[in-house]
């Protein structure tokens, strides 16, 4: 089966610009998660979708970040306007059910804000 895919793999933008990251989960996975790893730090949870609904967005850093999952399939994470501290690797993961189900991770998008 196809895995979780993310686009783009790398993005370099200037401070103040807008960037949109995309995640395509494994087909049939209702749960979709966004995580971020800032260089040298731990991977941190951003938010969790169940189908098209935001189940938990407690990890979103501020209102410059907007996540959507229209139709309950792919998801986008928009950063507007980007700041230097937004640089890092953004991971997406998906799982079929809650509870014991493992999360399958995508390759990540490396975002660099100059």
């Amino acid at each position: 089966e196809a895995g979780v895919t993310q686009f783009p793999s790398h993005s370099v933008i200037e401070k103040g610009q807008t960037v949109t990251l995309r995640c395509d989960p494994i087909s049939g996975h209702d749960n979709l998660y966004w995580y971020r790893r800032v260089m040298g730090k731990e991977i941190k949870f951003l938010l969790h979708f169940v189908k098209e609904s935001k189940q938990d967005e407690s990890g979103m850093p501020n209102n410059r970040f907007l996540a959507e999952r229209t139709g309950g399939t792919y998801s986008t994470l928009k950063v507007q306007p980007a700041e230097l501290e937004d640089s890092g690797v953004y991971f997406c993961a998906s799982s079929q059910e809650l509870g014991h189900q493992k999360q399958f991770f995508g390759p990540g998008t490396r975002l660099t804000v100059l």
Binding site: G40, E42, D56
Partner: protein, 116 residues
Amino acid sequence: AQSVSQHNHHVILSEAASLELGCNYSYGGTVNLFWYVQYPGQHLQLLLKYFSGDPLVKGIKGFEAEFIKSKFSFNLRKPSVQWSDTAEYFCAVNRGLTGGGNKLTFGTGTQLKVEL
């Protein structure tokens, strides 16, 4: 809030040496525990997981981990490492359905380098 500590940030071993990576978590309730690995240029993938039952769990590629509830620990072990085990290893925890959802809390990761 729960947190996860991985005490070894960088580990260098020779092939055939034994490996133990430490992981401690802070949450006092029921937890699910995971070890993920990221090989160079690859996705994060699950090595093993513990939900309940036998506290000694076996994963892929000869890895195992032991859950010690009294010590809030879930250390990863492998008796004899190979050069191909060079990767970054992440311990992670979630509270599952009853404790607030599926979001994973990760440690900072341990970079393992195995030398020939």
